[in-house]
Every structure is written in C-alpha cells, then in structure tokens.
C-alpha cells in the first residue's frame, strides 16, 4: 500500500508539474467526463447507493447524482469566468504600478469523503479540485464499500488517470496517506477525525477544509407560522427522515418548540410520517437504512438509555438484522443524556420544549456551533436575534437542508462544525491559492525611497503614505515644512 501511495503521489506531482491540469480545456474535459460518467452509470450508481444505504433511487438522484451533475455543469459554465485574474485597484501612491490576484491551483490535493453521501461527497470536492486545476487523490469511505468500489473502478475509465486517482481503504490507508505532504486536504466527516486530520496536516503546513457536523437545531415558532404549520411539519419530516434516514451532517437533529404546542406538533408529525412511509416504514422502500451494525448499535445505545426510552412518543422499534430503526420521536429526553449531547445521525427526533421560544437562543448557544440552524418563524425580531446572537455554518429560515442545493451560498461550518467552505465558486476558491501579483514600472523612480535617510525624505514619505497629495506637492515646492 505504501508503494502504491508513493507511486501515485509521484505520478500526480509529475502530471501537475507538466502543466497539463492548468489548461482550462483539460479542466473542462474532466468536468464533462464526470457528467458523462454519472449519466452513463445512473442505474449502477443508484444500485450501489441502495446496497450501501438502502437509498431509494429518487433520493439517490435528488441528493447525489442530480446534485453532482448540476455542480459539474455550473463549474463548466462558470470556469472561464472564475479563472480570470481579479484586478485590484491600487492607491494613487503606487502609480503607475498595477495589481491583480490570480487563482492558482495548490498542486496535488487529497479528498477524503464520507459514507452517507458517498457519491456526492466524493465527486463534489473532486469537481472543485479539478476546476481549480489540481491533481487529486480521492479516498472514499470504506463504510460505503460498494460506492467506494464503484468510484475506484469507474473514475479511471472516464477521467485522466494520471491526474485523478482513487484509492480504497479504511483508517489504515488514511494514516498512510496523511503521513505524506499534500498541497491541500479536504475532509468530510466527524469532528473527532477532523482533529486528527488537521494535526497530521500541521506537520506539513498543509491547509485544510474540514466539513464536519454538529447538532443542527430546528426552532419552531408556532405563533408566527401557525397558518403554514402543515408545510413546517412536512419540511421537517422530509428533511429528517427523507434524506438518508437522518444520517446527514445538516440533518434536523432536534426540534425546539414551546411546551404549549409540543403535543400538537407531535400529532401532526405522526400522520406526516405515515404519509411518507406508510404503516410499515420498514417495507416502504423509501427509508434509507442505518449504514452498519456499529452505527446501529450506537443509535440503539442512545435510545436504550432509560430516560430516553421513557420519552419515546412515537416509533422506537428496531431491527438489527435489517439495520432498520423506525422514525422515532422523543418528547423532552433528559438534557444530559447522550442523545442530547452528541450528533444523533439517525432517524430519532428529540423535541425539546421551552416555556418561551426566545429561550431557544440560549439553548443553542449552550452547545457547540452547529453546521446549520433552522428556524420556522415569521417574527422579524426572532430572526434578527437568531442571526446576531447564535453562530453556525449557516442559517435557513422556514425550510431545512435546502441551503445545500443553493450553490451561490458557501457551504461550511464554524467552530466544531468545521473550517473552510465550498459549493459553486467557493469550491473553486477552496482549492486555489489566491496569488497577488504586483507590477511596478522601471521608468519612474522616487528618490525619497532610498537611503541615505534625511528629514526631507522622512517628511516626504510620511505625507506620501498619508496620501496627503496636496500637502506633498506643497512640500516639494518648498511651500510647506
């Protein structure tokens, strides 16, 4: 394995040094190839996603395939614009110098993706790395083995295999990879592993983007959205259970609502769940399963806490064989239980009641900064408070998850939920070094710039730097001391 990595790195570095990946034409060809790859292999991709996660093909398309195609199309359409150097306006003091900023690829980058959206979380960063002109090595997660194998087998037949490589494996392979020097590392996964990645990157001063997670709260201000409550419930339910069964970094983790409305909310959630998945969600084919036994047991442990068990108001049934957990609602589980202190990443939805919805602010602030905050409210005051008093990767009002689809918005965390961002042009920037270029003129020269120093030069430079041009002129004419 060590040799494979060494050789891959060497080849990627040689390819980068050759300059091939710098050409816009090459980048576009690769992006077109990604679109072609997805189009040609739609069925196969839906297949592997079903095998790894029990995803329905519609969900697979919506969250992964369609998303990747759109992302690649956007990059294709915008690349010519993105690569144009940005002119910088220089202060008059520097006339006639000119300045601009060029986006330059970092070089050879490493993308480590996650198991829950194994296609999109692998290909989307790849799209960013390629559009920025890098060579890239992708390691997909071993916890989604079919997707990983698919990518390892298929990518080389569509993309430039001397520049874009795929490696399979688990933590042992990751450890080998992290010993090497990369020009950038892009990681999607848990905060715990994120810390390990960043520490490894520190050895080589490698910049990182870490897309991590957190407990994304959903505030339901029932006073102001009572008219649209059906929509609210539908969106929350769709976001929680309709996307990989809650195993998403931006999933609705828990709901905050006033005590007076809690039972009404629950009574609306129940039929909504049934409308999605029928009377027997296990057989619906529309609910993803838990990824593996380890995570199943983790979720079972969260649920089996006596205090948590007592708070189950809907669902709760589990089938370890089928890695199935029923869409489950909890009402006020103990706040010190594990389920309220770690990212759930599963189909269990705690509802936390408050006396007053304004308390949701303090509640959210008492926890690490999440990747997203969702708030269903039309109260402008509450919106302002949420925006200015809480901190999160993003905030979405009156919907959930959808910020992921908006590629004009940067997608990334803050604090425990991550470092850096991507999507759309932010993906391009994520994998680029913004290099400042300044050009001076050899024609004009200012004596005052050079030693030996004297008080004339000092005053001159002081005035020049202050951009006190009028005073400067007076000074030079001897009319000012």
């Amino acid at each position: 394995m060590e040799e494979v990595v060494d050789q891959s790195l060497r080849e990627m570095r040689d390819t980068f040094a050759s300059g091939r990946t710098r050409s816009v034409k090459w980048r576009k060809t690769q992006l077109e190839a990604i679109i072609e790859m997805v189009k040609d292999n739609e069925d196969k991709m839906c297949d592997v996603l079903f095998q790894d996660l029990g995803k329905h093909s519609t969900e697979a398309f919506r969250d992964e395939l369609g998303f990747v195609m759109r992302s690649a199309t956007t990059a294709l359409n915008c690349l010519d614009k993105w690569v144009v150097p940005k002119k910088s306006n220089l202060p008059l003091l520097f006339y006639p110098s000119t300045g601009k900023v060029i986006s330059e690829p970092y070089g050879t980058v490493l993308v480590l993706s996650s198991w829950n959206f194994p296609i999109s979380l692998s290909l989307d960063p790849l799209i960013g790395a390629i559009s920025a002109g890098n060579t890239v090595l992708l390691k997909a997660s071993e916890l989604s083995p079919n997707a990983s194998a698919f990518l390892a087998k298929t990518i080389p037949s569509y993309l430039d295999s001397k520049a874009i490589k795929v490696i399979e494996g688990g933590p042992d392979v990751a450890t080998i990879l992290l010993k090497h020097q990369w020009d950038k590392i892009f990681f999607t996964g848990s905060p715990r592993i994120g810390k390990i990645i960043m520490a490894a990157a520190a050895e080589h001063l490698t910049p990182v983007t870490l897309e991590l997670g957190g407990k994304c709260p959903t505030i339901v201000d029932h006073h102001s959205v009572s008219k649209d409550m059906k929509s609210v419930v539908k969106r929350i339910s769709g976001g929680k259970w309709g996307s990989c069964s809650g195993q998403a970094c931006i999933s609705v983790d828990y709901v905050l609502v006033e005590k007076s409305f809690a039972s009404s909310l629950i009574e609306m959630l129940k039929p909504m769940i049934r409308s999605f998945f029928g009377e027997n969600p296990k057989e619906s084919g529309c609910l993803s399963r838990i990824v593996n036994k380890k995570h199943f047991q983790r979720l079972a442990r969260l649920l089996n806490d006596p205090g948590v068990q007592a708070s189950i108001v809907y669902g709760g049934s589990m089938d370890e064989e089928k890695l199935y957990i029923e869409p489950t609602i909890l009402l006020d589980p103990p706040l010190d239980s594990e389920i309220m202190n770690e990212e759930i990443f599963g189909p269990i939805l705690p509802i936390i009641t408050l006396r007053d919805i304004q308390e949701s602010i303090g509640f959210i602030k008492s926890k690490p900064k999440p990747l997203a905050i969702y708030a269903f409210t039309k109260d402008e005051n509450l919106k302002t408070r949420i925006l200015s008093e809480t901190s999160s990767g993003s905030v979405t009002f009156n919907d959930v998850m959808i910020q992921y689809m908006c590629d004009a918005l940067p997608f990334g965390g803050v604090g425990e939920s991550g470092i850096g961002r991507y999507h759309g042009k932010y993906s391009f920037e994520c994998f680029s070094h913004e290099k400042a270029i300044m050009e001076g003129s050899l024609a004009m020269d200012l004596e005052a710039r050079y030693p030996p120093w004297n008080s004339f030069k000092l005053t001159f430079l002081r005035l020049a730097f202050r951009e006190a041009y009028f005073k400067l002129v007076l000074f030079m004419l001897g009319l000012k001391k």
């Binding site: 369609g66 330059e104 309709g242 901190s391 009156n398 913004e434 400042a436 050899l442 120093w453």
Partner: protein, 511 residues
C-alpha cells in the same frame, strides 16, 4: 492608631508595613503568568464577547480610533523602542511601521460599515425557489494574535486591527525578542483600549504554550515555519482555524534587459533598507545569468556605496542584527567552507555592535546553509545560471516562498513568471511594495504560510461568513418528499437541470 511621632516603635511598624507593601507590589508586578491565568483570561474575554461588548459598530470604530491616537501621540516612543530593540532607523520606524499602521486603521474606519454589511447573493437556484439569500459577516469570538520581533508594532497591531474591525475580543502576544516594543505595546494598549476585550500577554515560550492550550476561535501567527507547525498542531486540538504568516527564501530573478540602476536601488532598499534583511519578504537571493552577473554586482556595489557610504558599518541607516543568536547564525553561514571564499563585497562583522556589513556572495554551493534556510539578514547570494530559463527549475525545486521577484521588460517572461512561479505573492520590477497595498491579499502558500490579510482581507480573516437562506411557504414541491415515484424522479431531474420546458411538460403530463 494615629501615629504622629517618629518614635522607634512607630518607625518599626511603618518599616514593616512598607516592606510588606513593597513585597506585594513587586509580587504583583512580576506575577508569573500561569495556566490558571490563561484560563481566566480567555473566560473573561469570552464573557465580554458573549455580552456583546465587541459586536457593535460604535465599539469597533472607537477602538480603531484609539489605535490611531496611539500612533499620533506616541510615535517618538515607538521609534525609540524600535531603536532599542533593533537599531531601526527613524525613517523605517516612522514609515514602515507607524505610517503603514495609520493607513491600515484609517482604511478600516472608513470602510467598516461596508465591510460589516451582509453580501447579497445574486441568485438561488430553481430547486430552492422561491428564496432569497445573503452572507452575513460575524465575528469568530475570542482570537489570539502572536506577532514577530522584526516589525513588532506593524505585525502586532495590523492583525489586531483586523480582529477588532471584525468584532472579536483579542489577546495579543508580542515577541519577547523585541522587549522594549513588547512592553510599550502592553502599556499603550492597556492605556487606550477596552481591556475587557483587548489584552496583551507578554512573555516567551512558557506563556505562549499556556496560551496555546486554550480554545481560541482563531489564531493568527507571524513567524517561522517551524513554530507555525507547532501553532497549527495546537490549534488542531480545538479545531481552531489559523492564519500563518511565515517566510521562506524569496528569490529575485534579474533579466539582462532591465534598468539595472533602478533594479539595484530597489533591491537594496528592499533588502538592507527594510530592517537590514530581517523581513519575511526580504529579497533572499538573486538569480541571473553568468553573463549579466558582473554588471549586477557592479550596480549593487555602486548603489550600496551611494546609500550607505564607504563605511557601511558606521551607517545609521540600517537596523542592527537583532541579537547574538541571530548574529552567530549569520556568521556561521558566512564562515562555511566554500562560502567564505565567495564573498565579493562586504563580509565585515562586529559582534559587540551586532553588525554585519551588507555582503554579496557569488555562486555559493546550492546545498550550503546560506542557500538552504531563510537568511533573514544582510547577506545576498547571487546564483548565476547559463541561461535565465533555468531560474524556474531552481525556484520550483525549493519550498514555496512568501514572495518572488522579477526584474525584466520582457512581457512574455513576466507572464510566464506570474503564472508558473508559486509563491505567496509576485512582484515584478519592484521589491516588497505589495505589503503596503491594502487591496492585495498578503499571505503565503505551502511552507510560507496559509491565509492572508491586509485591507478587507484582514476583516475577512477574522470573520465567519455565515450563509443565510430565507425561504417562504409558497409552493412546496411534492417531489421533494416520500413516497418516491418515477414521476417525481423525472420532475426532479428536470428541476436539477433547471430545464423550465421539461418541468412544464411533466406538470402538464406531456412528458
């Protein structure tokens, strides 16, 4: 008791009280910074931040204006401290530290409202329609700025300007290798700024280590690559984002078609005229052709003499070497076998005065110490090439520097250089000036660092750009939700490809 007379007993009591008082005073003054102090400090600043002290526009502008007052009222003391610490000439201190800071502060004050305003986002996609979006700038929280010894005021206050304008609480740790500056900074910042949110911690490795154990919302470090790694590793424990402004060997490529007089003057001003070569973007070494090299050397010698006279060791227009450690480091570089005999100008040293004359060397071995580590001193090696083309390989074979310089009139060469040489920043036909341009991001890549600042980039460096999406309840595509069907799939596909025609066809059942 009311002691009125100086009788022996009362004298004794007074002597005792005085000595207790003296002991307590001394203890308080030299109180050692300990782990608990670091924790308390961060806790206090976090409370101030959570209370909203630093968030408002008024507070930020007030603090920035106070920094301006420091520049206005205390320039002589700053110049004096820099002279104590580095032997820095008045002009360098006034212009390259105070004047640059003034500009930085004025720009921030002028632009802050603009910077703080959310960015509107042009379009949201059809899949998320109807929605509007914006990007809101929010402070990260409590940040740590660790600065360097060579431009102790500039490199301390410039990042602090960024931290404050972005609305953070900030702790500054100046370098202990410039002690007069460090202590003046501590005194002035405490005197002028809001100490509930802005603090200075003086000290060395121990204090820095204690600070690094805390959880910060951002760490901004200026210094060496070696320490940069330690900083990032400490930051990783808390997933703290970092900006590392490091260094490297900034090469200067000189083409034979250049105006040699101006080239030489700019190189000299950029090297010896900026803290005597002790700057992160100092021209480290020269690359030129074997043919052109003698002319380059002559031009440099001529201008060096014009700038510093026949006896540069006596010139007051250059900083001294910062301390004996660095002096010895530089001496060793010069004394290395196969290096000492390559000196073509200068080479004089005076350890007592911590002075080394401007020294030029030609074709030292590429694996010598002087060509392997950042020089950070008044030594300038010239490496000659058979043809200028080879410069690309030489530069590419080394770690990416903070800056790369090229002197030429050849447009094609300029373009190729700008495109293919990877460095923090590139300057053509000048040296170091890009540092003073607030509209250019200043930072490194690879070994020379990560992140950037200056101007708005400083504000951005200390901000979280929070994406905000506003959705309404109008229109809820059933296709988003289970149960899933082929019809839904088709509609989704159409939406994802933003194909209006297809959407209508599906809705109307025509597809």
């Amino acid at each position: 008791s009311n002691v009125k007379e100086d009788n022996p007993a009362s004298l004794g009591i007074r002597a005792q009280s005085l000595s207790v008082f003296a002991y307590v005073s001394v203890y308080v003054m030299v109180k050692v910074f300990q782990a608990a102090d670091a924790t308390d400090l961060v806790t206090e600043l976090r409370r101030s931040f959570d209370d909203g002290v630093t968030r408002g526009y008024e507070w930020r502008v007030t603090q920035l204006k106070k920094l301006l007052l420091i520049c206005d009222n205390h320039e002589p003391e700053i110049v004096s401290a820099l002279h104590d610490d580095l032997g820095k000439p008045e002009l360098e201190s006034s212009v390259y530290e105070v004047a640059l800071l003034r500009n930085s502060i004025n720009l921030a004050v002028k632009q802050l409202k603009d910077w703080m305003a959310p960015d509107k986002v042009a379009k949201t996609s059809l899949t998320t329609f109807p929605a509007s979006a914006e990007i809101v700038y929010e402070p990260l929280g409590v940040v740590l700025v660790i600065s360097a010894w060579n431009y102790p005021f500039l490199l301390s206050i410039d990042p602090v300007i960024g931290a404050i304008s972005a609305g953070n609480a900030v702790v500054l740790k100046p370098s202990e290798l410039a002690p007069a500056s460090s202590s003046l900074l501590a005194k002035l910042l405490e005197q002028y700024l809001d100490s509930s949110a802005v603090r200075v911690v003086e000290g060395a490795v121990t204090e820095t280590t204690l600070l690094l154990e805390q959880k910060w919302d951002k760490i901004f470090y200026t210094g060496s690559s070696r320490i940069g790694r330690i900083i990032m590793m400490a930051a990783a424990k808390h997933l703290t984002p970092v900006v590392l402004e490091l260094g490297g060997k900034s090469p200067v490529v000189i083409d034979s078609d250049t105006n040699l007089k101006i080239t030489a003057k700019r190189i000299i001003a950029g090297k010896w005229g900026c803290n005597n070569g002790q700057a992160c973007i100092s021209p480290d070494y020269i690359l030129t052709t074997k043919e052109f090299s003698p002319k380059v050397i002559d031009a440099l010698k001529q201008e060096l003499e014009a700038f510093y006279g026949k006896n540069p060791m006596e010139s007051k227009d250059m900083s001294r070497i910062v301390n004996s450690n660095h002096f010895d480091r530089l001496s060793k570089m010069l004394e290395e076998k196969e290096v000492s005999d390559k000196i073509v100008y200068g080479g004089q040293k005076n350890r007592d005065k911590l002075k080394i004359a401007p020294t030029i060397l030609v074709d030292v071995p590429l694996d010598s110490q002087i060509m392997s580590e950042e020089i950070f001193g008044p030594l300038l090696p010239i490496i000659t090439l058979n043809n200028l083309e080879e410069c690309f390989d030489v530069i590419r074979s080394r770690p990416k520097p903070l800056a790369a310089y090229l002197f030429t009139q050849n447009q094609k060469l300029k373009e190729r250089f700008a495109l293919t040489v990877s460095a923090g920043g590139i300057v053509v036909n000048d040296i170091a000036v890009h540092l003073a341009v607030p509209t250019l991001p200043f930072g490194g890549v690879g070994e020379s660092g990560m992140g950037s600042y200056h101007g708005k980039f400083s504000f951005d460096a200390f901000s979280h750009k929070k994406a905000v999406l506003y959705k309404s309840f109008i229109g809820d595509a059933a296709i988003r939700y289970p149960p899933y069907s082929t019809g839904k799939l088709r509609l989704l596909k159409a939406l994802v490809n933003s194909n209006i025609l297809e959407i209508f066809r599906v809705i109307l059942g025509l597809s």
